[in-house]
């Protein structure tokens, strides 16, 4: 997990930290984590909104360009802890998103997506639906 974090995290200016607020709703804020390989944590300096409390948390790294191209993302699941005046995030699981596994990642995205869809339908006893993609295309009008 730390090899992937060290490889990919420096390519992002910031990340989105999500914890759970006292009322049970997720609470997210953008932050700038710093990797501390020796301590195996990501340190979060600077302000975090008051709604964020220590406990189960996630750290999402993602980016896209102005045309929604160049997608890249991965998620860390872990725990958020108070550390002096700041916070530290202790990751427990690395979950790849898009654009971080090369060509193999895209193949897996398609294969896993189809398999997950089939499983979702089978669990409910639903047939593979016929999609109105032509209708969708025509409703969108001509390419501009």
């Amino acid at each position: 997990m730390w090899a992937e974090i060290a490889r990919h995290a420096p390519g992002f200016d910031s990340a989105v930290l999500t914890g759970v607020a006292e009322d049970g709703y997720p609470f997210s804020a953008r932050c700038r984590p710093e990797i501390d390989m020796a301590a195996q944590v990501l340190r979060i300096r600077g302000p975090l909104p008051a709604g964020i409390v220590a406990g189960p948390a996630g750290l999402l790294y993602h980016r896209h360009d102005a045309r929604l191209g160049g997608l890249k993302s991965f998620l860390l699941r872990g725990t958020l802890l108070r550390a002096g005046d700041g916070w530290e995030f202790r990751p427990m699981r690395y979950v790849p998103g898009v654009g971080v596994q090369g060509l193999w990642g895209y193949v897996r995205f398609v294969v896993d997506g189809r398999r997950n869809t089939r499983r979702y339908l089978e669990q409910r006893g639903w047939p593979w639906p016929r999609l109105p993609l032509e209708q969708l295309l025509s409703s969108l009008g001509p390419e501009r």
Binding site: T18, Y25, S28, G58, R114, R118, Y120
Partner: protein
């Protein structure tokens, strides 16, 4: 606020896993102003967020990445709300509220304008066959409970807020 909801391409959408860990992924929501709701159409092959929302409807959307929005110095906006994710597929546009179809079609048109490759996927029979699963969609609707925003994205500042029950701006 509506300029952020309409203009941002993506938001960070959080649901809660069975063990209570928040799971956040970038998502392209459609804002439905007439109902003050957000709608996310997630692929059935990526439906864990819908499954999570059925188990625990407390969710959040953070609008913090203005890339491609054309907005200058927008606020960071956090929407905390209650999700509904009916266990059914959206396979026919006739299934949908016409008002929503209008809002969603505008959103999809924006996506296709920005990502011409997506239109190619739809138009080409081979890629349509390979990627058909991606277009099998499940709908998640989020009704805001609380909205917090930080002008200029300054998290040092005390956020402005709106709450559904009190329905006031702080």
């Amino acid at each position: 606020m509506e300029a952020v909801f309409q203009g941002f391409i993506t938001c960070e959408f959080s649901t809660l896993a069975r063990d209570g860990t928040p799971i956040t992924w970038p998502t392209m929501p459609a804002y439905w102003p007439a109902r003050n709701q957000f709608v996310i159409l997630t692929s059935a092959g990526l439906a864990q967020k819908a499954v999570n929302a059925r188990r625990n409807p407390r969710v959040a959307l953070l609008f913090s990445d203005a890339t491609g929005s054309g907005l200058h110095d927008p606020p960071s906006v956090l929407v905390q709300g209650d999700a509904e994710a009916p266990d059914r597929l959206l396979t026919d546009l006739d299934d949908l509220d016409p008002e929503f179809v209008t809002a969603a079609t505008a959103r999809i048109r924006l996506l296709l304008e920005r990502q011409p490759s997506m239109r190619l996927y739809l138009a080409n029979p081979l890629t349509r066959r390979i990627m058909d699963w991606y277009f099998i969609r499940v709908m998640i609707t989020v009704t805001p409970r609380r909205i917090l925003w930080w002008p200029g994205g300054d998290l040092d500042a005390v956020p402005e807020f709106w709450e559904a029950e009190a329905a006031h701006v702080g």
